[in-house]
Each structure stands twice: as structure tokens, then as C-alpha cells.
């Protein structure tokens, strides 16, 4: 096909296969850029794949572009001035786009040249009559500005900026690993967690997990976001794989253990806890997990047993103090309290005996005494309370000792409305004199106050206290007797 110079110009200036001429003016560059984007977006409809017959592109010699024959001609024709070979040399550097000079701002169809198509596009191209060439692009009457929103070709910074503003932004074009990582790094530099997560969602979808994990291992900020994201959407499987990959054994174990909270059925939960025992916890934590399992196991047994007893209605303690709640999933101390309340006198062999619990879980004396005291005091079983603190020393004498401090004992007794005589007995056992006096005064243990004041030889305080006791009471008499006693050498 021979062509005149004019034709040639026309060809170069209106063909799809246009050279990028550097003598374009600067202010046109943005127009071009945007046209480039427009073209790019069109490419998405138009360029549906090389095997799409309808939209086959052909060059002037009638050969379909991209076909083998065309390529061969291309390479061969680079040196000759033949028309066929006159394809722009650097065409190949544009994987997506050419920069046609816009001859009309509203219709891109004039940019396209190609084999005339029968069918729907025919009429459209006819409508755009100012170009002689037939076009096959669909009519695009939308204004320039709008193309921006539908285009896909934002730079890295712009993409991240759009994400930060919450705009719709497809990340599909970041296909190479390098592009993806650059995108991620840009997102991290912006500090916005929402953007970082958005990019991670995309990477999770488009990268194999091994690659993803490997890359995130050295990117702490992004890694944290991924972990949090996986936790939030509940992708436990991937989360555990991630921890395994990172060799974070403890977090792996904890994450697995955490699942038990979602299991409501006690037996299932117990079974699940059993599987947790073998997890890579630290030594102490393994012991705790073991205890958790053992505790739940016990509670299931106790609960079943007690529910049976309660409904049978024969056991006094359950009749007098019906259970308010199930013992399942309660802490150990609460379970111990329960055992001391309902099963105090049971022998060591039973599952619900407090002593058994103490031995199994290695409950320290302090804790045991405190809990047993609270339980027995609630039941007003003062003899049991007594027995808790009474020990026989080697001479056979009984003595009262407490691992928790008698002031605590007094407080608990008082909270449970113990009678004054009982309170008094224990207040007397408080070693620290000031505390003893304080407590005695607070709880109105008159005898103790009186005796203590006498021991301290504190006349003033005794006299002051006289006003607090009932008129004519035995205590008042006692005070008077002491005050008038000549044997005491008062301090004040």
C-alpha cells in the first residue's frame, strides 16, 4: 500500500500504534496521561485477550497485531522504511498504553483504527463521522474528569492516598511481588492501619501463604496488622500456621488455648483442654493448663453428683442452703469454698472433699484456712472454726495458731455476724496491741478493751471507754473496779 506523506502523518497521528514523541509540550502531558488512563480503561473492555476474535487488532498490512507473523515482520522491518515495518520502535515498552494525540476530547473512538466491524459498533462509528477510519470502540460520552475515577492506573503514592481517603481503589494491577511489597511499604509509611490492613487483605488473596509469611516476617508493623486482622475475622487456621512459621510457640499455644472460651458444653470443653496440655507452653503455664483441665474434670463430677443429691432432697445441707449456681467453670478458690460449704466433713478420698482439693491442687495453707473459715463462718459452725486454728503442741496443750493473722479472722467472723463471745476470743489472739484495741473497740468487745487498757496501764483511755459501755452493765462495774484498784500503777 503506498501512501502519501499526508497519509503517513495521518497514520502516525491517529493510529492506535503511536509513537511516544518527546516533543509533546508539557501542558499536554497531563492530558496525555489522562488519555492514557482512559485508553487503559478502555483496553479493559476492548482488549479482552488475544484470542478475542471480535476485537482483533490489525495493522495496515492486514495482519493481526501480536500474531507471530506480525511480530516477525516487526523485528525484520525495523531497519527498512517499509510501511509494515514502520511500527514505532519503542512500542513494546508500553505494555499498556499508547498516547494518541487527542483529536476530540469526548470521543475516544477516533483513536482506534482497525478492521471494520460488523455489528453493534458499526453504527457508533458512523455516528462519529469526523474520522474516516472505522472505529470499533464503544461510544464514550462521559466527561474527562470521570475517567479518573474508573481508571486503574494510579501511581503507588496516589493509590495509597486514595486508600487513606477511603476511596474505591482496585489493587489488582500490583501483580509483581516487588510492586506488592512496595505498596505495602508505602502503606506502612503512611501509618494508617486501615490502609495497611486493606493492602494485607489484597496480599493474602494474591500471594501464597508461604511467600506472604516470609515477607511479613521482616516487616513487624505489617505483621502485627495481619495477626490482628486474622484474629478479628476468626481465621484461626491461618493464624496458627503463621505462628508456627514464625516459631512463636508460646503465642501459638495461647491462641489455641483461647478457643476454649467459645466452647460452651462442659464435656467438650474438658476434652478440648486435654488437647491443650501438650501445647508448647512454658513449664509453669503447662502446669496451669493441666490444673485447668483437672479442675473442670472435677467440677463436672461434683456438679453431676450434687445435682442428683439436691433433687433427691434427702441431704440437709442442700435443703437448708439451696445452690444458687452451678460450680462449673468457677475458679479453684470458689470451688474450694463450695466444697468447704457443702462437703466439709467428707473423707479425703472423695472428689468433693476439701482436703482432696487442697492436696490435688497444692493449695497453700493460708488460702485453705481463709476459705474454710469463710465457709464455716457463713454456716455459723463455730466449732469447725475453732478446730481450724487449734493445734496440739508437743506437750499436749492446745494452742491457737493461724497462718493468716487473727485480725483477718476477726473481720471475717464479724462479716458473718458471729456472736460477741466468739469475736472476743479471737480479738484476744491478735498480737499487735494497737490493732487489738482498734478491733475490740470497733466490734464492741468490751472485755478485751478493758483488759487491754488495764494491761497498758492507760487510765485515760479506760475512763473514756467507760462512757461507751451501757449504764449499769457488768462492764461498767468491771471498769469501776479496775479504776479503783490500788494495785495498778497508772501511766496517766
Amino acid at each position: 500500500m503506498s501512501r502519501t506523506k499526508g497519509d503517513e502523518e495521518e497514520y502516525w497521528n491517529s493510529s492506535k500504534f503511536k509513537a511516544f514523541t518527546f516533543d509533546d509540550e508539557d501542558d499536554e502531558l497531563s492530558q496525555l496521561k489522562e488519555s492514557k488512563r482512559a485508553v487503559n480503561s478502555l483496553r479493559d473492555f476492548v482488549d479482552d485477550g488475544d484470542d478475542d476474535d471480535d476485537l482483533e487488532r490489525v495493522n495496515w498490512s492486514g495482519e493481526p497485531v501480536g500474531s507471530i507473523s506480525w511480530t516477525i515482520k516487526e523485528t525484520a522491518g525495523n531497519s527498512g522504511p517499509t510501511q509494515e515495518g514502520r511500527e514505532p520502535k519503542n512500542r513494546n515498552s508500553f505494555s499498556y498504553g499508547q498516547l494518541p494525540k487527542p483529536t476530540s476530547t469526548y470521543s475516544l473512538s477516533s483513536f482506534f483504527k482497525g478492521r471494520t466491524r460488523l455489528g453493534s459498533f458499526q453504527s457508533l462509528s458512523d455516528a462519529l463521522s469526523d474520522t474516516p477510519a472505522k472505529s470499533y470502540a464503544p461510544e464514550l460520552g462521559r466527561p474527562k474528569g470521570e475517567y479518573r475515577d474508573y481508571s486503574n492506573d494510579w501511581s503507588l503514592c496516589d493509590t495509597v492516598r486514595r486508600l487513606r481517603k477511603g476511596k474505591v481503589c482496585s489493587l489488582e494491577r500490583f501483580r509483581s511481588l516487588q510492586d506488592k511489597l512496595q505498596l505495602l511499604e508505602e502503606a506502612v509509611s503512611v501509618h494508617d492501619g486501615n490502609v495497611i490492613t486493606a493492602v494485607l487483605i489484597f496480599l493474602k488473596r494474591t500471594l501464597s501463604k508461604e511467600i506472604l509469611f516470609r515477607e511479613l516476617e521482616v516487616r513487624q508493623v505489617a505483621l502485627r496488622h495481619l495477626i490482628h486482622f486474622l484474629k478479628e475475622i476468626g481465621d484461626q487456621k491461618l493464624l496458627l500456621e503463621l505462628f508456627r512459621f514464625l516459631d512463636r510457640t508460646e503465642e501459638l499455644a495461647l491462641s489455641h488455648y483461647r478457643e476454649h472460651l467459645t466452647i460452651q458444653d462442659p464435656d467438650k470443653r474438658k476434652e478440648f483442654l486435654k488437647t491443650c496440655v501438650g501445647l508448647p507452653f512454658s513449664a509453669e503455664d503447662t502446669a496451669h493448663i493441666q490444673d485447668h483441665y483437672t479442675l473442670l474434670e472435677r467440677q463436672i463430677i461434683i456438679e453431676a453428683n450434687d445435682r442428683h443429691l439436691e433433687s433427691a432432697g434427702q441431704t440437709e445441707i442442700f435443703r437448708k442452703h439451696p445452690r444458687k449456681a452451678s460450680i462449673l467453670n468457677m475458679p479453684l478458690v470458689t470451688t474450694l469454698f463450695y466444697a468447704c460449704f457443702y462437703h466439709y466433713s467428707e473423707p479425703e478420698g472423695t472428689f468433693s472433699s476439701p482436703i482432696n482439693l487442697k492436696k490435688t491442687f497444692k493449695i497453700p495453707d493460708k488460702q485453705y484456712v481463709l476459705t474454710a473459715l469463710a465457709a464455716r463462718a457463713k454456716l455459723r459452725a463455730w466449732h469447725d472454726v475453732d478446730a481450724l486454728f487449734t493445734t496440739k503442741n508437743w506437750l499436749g496443750y492446745t494452742k491457737k495458731r493461724a497462718p493468716i493473722g487473727f485480725h483477718r479472722v476477726v473481720e471475717i467472723l464479724h462479716k458473718n455476724n458471729a456472736p460477741v463471745q466468739i469475736l472476743q476470743e479471737y480479738v484476744n489472739l491478735v498480737e499487735d496491741v494497737d490493732m487489738k484495741l482498734n478491733l475490740a473497740t470497733k466490734f464492741k468487745c468490751h472485755d478485751v478493751v478493758i483488759d487491754t487498757c488495764r494491761d497498758l496501764k492507760d487510765r485515760q483511755q479506760l475512763m473514756a471507754y467507760r462512757g461507751k459501755v451501757d449504764k449499769g452493765s457488768a462492764e461498767e462495774e468491771k471498769i469501776d473496779t479496775i479504776l479503783s484498784s490500788p494495785q495498778i500503777r497508772w501511766k496517766n
Binding site: 477511603g166 501509618h191 490492613t197 488455648y257 509453669e284 493448663i289 467453670n329 479453684l332 470458689t334
Partner: protein, 510 residues
């Protein structure tokens, strides 16, 4: 807060504009769905919403019924249009999706609108898409970021910030912070002086600057009403937040819980059979005088005030008609108001005192003092042990342990193990997870053997690679944390005896 103004201080900016903006925005969004609609609100947003737009305003804009978003509970609304006002959390998305999909299965189509506050997250969109309801709901953002709680106190009302950032390291709310700052600088002028300390502070500042620069030229140059801004990361000072509160406002919060600047006083306080919701801010004249006072002074002060009030009432005995008329028209209302407030606060005081004596408050304070000043360490530790053994309160036990850990740069391993075991036994074995979280957040740690300064330095020097930049920052910040609390105390001359620094807890405010 409501500090007492110095005579030469400039006027406070008018923050009520923030409320109006938020309200107008919400109304606009509601009107995008014309017609009657039911509004589902997330629990966390209910109090702030109350302060911004009352129920009557909502009803004016065709909101029919209000419901609380309750996961796992069936939805009883029969309205044709449902509107959800939620935070951008995945569990909320699943809740909404469940609702919509149930409707779809039942063959029912309604209109659904989701209003995200303060913004929508991509993860939420992903879930909506996954659940197949992306096209069935319309999404909007209610960019409410700052709520004025008092004339000089703004709050973002984002309690989840702490956990998301300081525990999980998720930076999702940094944009929200930047947006809030941007809003402030747009309304009140750009702040000329900015100072900060902490990693999050730096990131927020940088993102905010980015926002400002993007919109250069749009902001009119006006005289800034806010001169200085200080960014402080919470983890720079956990101690303040962990101490017991001893000023009146703090104790009211402790006892009754102040939400968004208002509190619910029950019948025992109001001396009637009704509960009353009271707004606690600078407008309550009685409250503003006692809020920052140490509790021991408050009761005396209130009694004195009550006596004065009585004296004022008694004045009317000696008045003639004209004076009486004057009195009734001018003063009586004010006196009645004051009387009402006084009796409320006295009632509150009584409740607080009752609760605190029951809880052995004195000993608690004594222990805290010991921890802050660094004496009687063993006693403090045994107090904590006992506190745990007695199952007093799971939160308070943890609070004390964290205070011990921070003031002592971590618990000694023996104590850590024993207290942890006791805690698990007292409050439940699942708290193994709690301890792990607290350790990650730096609140309750164990002293590692050989964790001297030199050991830390050599650890840091080994990490000198680009990729480990994050690790270096972490190492340095943990170094900063480990820099002795006591040393800082001394340097800043913090005197706990005077109890000046036992400041009240603040919501996460900027």
C-alpha cells in the same frame, strides 16, 4: 477538668460547634433514608449519641424505634427500613449480615443502611462482600471524632483505642486521630506549637501534617485559638492511670461510673425512689467547687455549704414584702437549684464513704503510697497476695500488681510466679490469657535475669539492620519504659505525700 481561669488567660474556644457539626451530620445521614426507620445503636455509641442528639431530635427525623445492637440476640424490629449506627468492627458486620441474610431466606426485602462511626474500614467492606450483602446495604460514615464533655475537655470516646494500639499494635485509629486534629485546626486555627512523646504520638502527628499539607490553601489563615498541643502516649505514664482516685470526681467515677460526662445516681443518693441522670460539668456550681478536692475535704465543705444555704433561706424571716418579692424572683430559684445539687452530692458522698470503708480503702491507699515511694515492698506484696486470696476484686488485684510491676521495673520472678498462680486460683484459670496480654502491653512483666542496662545496650547494638528498624524502636522504647520510674519521679520532683499527683483518671482525650 475545668481549671480556674487566671485573670490574664485567653477565652476558651467554643467547642459546642463540634457537637453541632456532629449532630447536623448525623441528621443529614438519617435523612438519606427517608421515611420511618428503626435505628440500631451499638452500646458504646449510646452515651455519646445521647450527648449529641437526643431521642426527640432523632424522632423528629423519622426514627421510629431505637434498639441496641446485641450480638446473638434475635432482632425484633418489624420496620421496613433499618439503620445501623456502629463502629467499624467485624463482629458488627457479621451481626448485620446475619440479619440481612435471614431476611433474604425468609423472602423479605427491607432497606438497610449502615452508618459507620467514625469511619468505614476496608476489612468491614470485605466482610460485607463475603457475606453477600454488599449490594443490599448502603454504607455511610458519620465522622464524629470529638465530643466536648466540658468547657475545656474533649473526648474521642474511643475506648477500644488502647487495646487495639497498645496491645495489638494496630494503627487503625491513627487516621481518626489525625482527622480529629484536622477538624480542630480547621475550626480553631492551626496550632503553632506541637510537642510530643511516644511512638503513636509521632505517627499521629505525621499523618495529621500530611492531611494538612494535602488541603493547603483550603484552610483559611486565621488566628489560632489553640496555641500549643502536646501529644502524649498513654504508655509513657501508666502509673497515673493505675493509682486509686482520691478526688471527688474520681471517686464518683469509681463508685457510680461517669459516662460521657454524666452519671446515674440511684435512689440511695437522690433520697427518693427514682434514679436521676446528672450532667457533671462546670455548669454544676457545687460540683465545680469540689470536683478536684481531696475527698477528705469534701464532706466538710459540703456541710459548710449546706449551713450557708440554710442561713440564706432563713434570711427571709426578717424580710418585708418588697424584699421578699425580690428574693423570690431573683434568688430563690438559684438557691433551690443549689439546694438540689447539694443534697445530690451529699448523698453521693455518703454512698462513696460507705463503699470505701467496706472495702478497706485506707489500707489500699497506704499500700499504693508504699509502691509509689518505694518503701515496704514486702508488705505491699503481701497485701496484694491477701487481696487476691480474698477474691476482693479481679480488676483491683490486677491494678495493684501492675502498679507494683511498673514501679519496680517488673516483678521478681518468684513473686511473678506465685502471684500469677494465686490469681489464677482465685479468679479463674482462663486468666492465663489475661497475664499474657498484660505482659505484651508492658503492664505486668517479670524482671528478666541479667536485665541490666548494659545487657540491654548490647542487645540493641546487635539489631542494627534496616529490616529490624521496628525492633530497634521497640528496644529503645522498652528501654525508656525500664528507665526507672523512681528516677523520673525524683527528677520531676513528684511528691506523693502531698497527693498532688494522684490525679484523676482521664478518658483518652486530645
Amino acid at each position: 477538668m475545668a481549671f480556674h481561669l487566671r485573670p490574664d488567660a485567653p477565652e476558651l474556644p467554643d467547642f459546642s460547634m463540634l457537637k453541632r457539626l456532629a449532630r447536623d451530620q448525623l441528621i443529614y445521614l438519617l435523612e438519606q433514608l427517608p421515611g420511618k426507620k428503626d435505628l440500631f445503636i451499638e452500646a458504646d455509641l449510646m452515651s455519646p449519641l445521647d450527648r449529641i442528639a437526643s431521642v426527640s431530635i432523632l424522632k423528629q427525623h423519622e426514627v421510629d424505634k431505637l434498639y441496641k445492637v446485641e450480638i446473638n440476640k434475635p432482632v425484633l424490629s418489624s420496620s421496613e427500613q433499618l439503620c445501623f449506627l456502629v463502629r467499624p468492627r467485624i463482629k458488627n458486620m457479621r451481626y448485620i449480615a446475619h440479619l440481612v441474610n435471614t431476611d433474604k431466606l425468609a423472602g423479605r426485602t427491607r432497606k438497610y443502611k449502615v452508618i459507620f462511626s467514625p469511619q468505614k474500614f476496608y476489612a468491614c467492606e470485605m466482610v460485607l462482600e463475603e457475606e453477600g450483602i454488599y449490594g443490599d446495604v448502603s454504607c455511610d460514615e458519620w465522622a464524629f471524632s470529638l465530643l466536648p464533655l466540658d468547657v475545656d475537655l474533649l473526648s474521642m470516646e474511643l475506648p477500644e483505642f488502647f487495646r487495639d494500639y497498645f496491645l495489638e499494635g494496630d494503627q487503625r485509629w491513627i487516621n481518626t486521630v489525625a482527622q480529629a486534629l484536622h477538624l480542630l485546626s480547621t475550626l480553631y486555627g492551626s496550632f503553632p506549637n506541637c510537642y510530643g512523646i511516644g511512638r503513636c504520638a509521632k505517627m499521629s502527628y505525621e499523618l495529621w501534617r500530611t492531611l494538612e499539607e494535602e488541603e493547603e490553601g483550603e484552610t483559611k489563615s486565621r488566628r489560632p485559638e489553640i496555641g500549643h498541643i502536646f501529644f502524649l502516649d498513654r504508655d509513657m505514664d501508666f502509673v497515673t492511670a493505675l493509682c486509686s482516685q482520691v478526688v471527688y470526681e474520681g471517686l464518683v467515677d469509681d463508685t457510680f461510673r461517669i459516662k460521657c460526662g454524666s452519671v446515674d445516681f440511684g435512689p440511695e443518693v437522690t433520697s427518693s425512689d427514682k434514679s436521676l441522670k446528672v450532667l457533671l460539668n462546670a455548669e454544676d456550681k457545687v460540683f465545680s467547687e469540689i470536683r478536684n478536692e481531696h475527698f477528705s475535704n469534701v464532706f466538710g465543705f459540703l456541710s459548710q455549704k449546706a449551713r450557708n444555704l440554710q442561713a440564706q433561706y432563713d434570711r427571709r424571716r426578717g424580710m418585708d414584702i418588697k424584699q421578699m418579692k425580690n428574693f423570690v424572683s431573683q434568688e430563690l430559684k438559684g438557691l433551690k437549684q443549689e439546694h438540689r445539687l447539694l443534697s445530690l452530692h451529699i448523698g453521693a458522698c455518703e454512698s462513696i464513704m460507705k463503699k470505701k470503708t467496706k472495702q478497706d480503702f485506707q489500707e489500699l491507699i497506704k499500700t499504693e503510697h508504699g509502691l509509689l515511694e518505694g518503701f515496704s515492698l514486702r508488705e505491699s506484696t503481701s497485701y496484694i497476695e491477701e487481696h487476691i486470696d480474698r477474691q476482693v476484686s479481679p480488676i483491683e488485684s490486677l491494678r495493684l500488681m501492675c502498679l507494683l510491676s511498673i514501679t519496680e521495673n517488673g516483678l521478681i520472678p518468684k513473686d511473678y510466679r506465685s502471684l500469677k498462680t494465686q490469681y489464677l486460683q482465685s479468679y479463674g484459670p482462663e486468666h492465663l490469657l489475661t497475664f499474657s496480654n498484660l505482659r505484651r502491653a508492658g503492664l505486668l512483666t517479670e524482671q528478666a535475669p541479667g536485665d541490666t542496662l548494659t545487657a540491654m545496650e548490647s542487645k540493641v547494638s546487635k539489631l542494627v539492620t534496616d529490616k529490624a528498624a521496628g525492633k530497634i524502636t521497640d528496644a529503645f522504647s522498652s528501654l525508656a519504659k525500664r528507665s526507672n520510674f523512681r528516677a523520673i519521679s525524683k527528677k520531676l520532683n513528684l511528691d506523693y505525700k502531698a497527693e498532688l499527683t494522684l490525679a484523676q483518671r482521664q478518658p483518652f482525650a486530645l
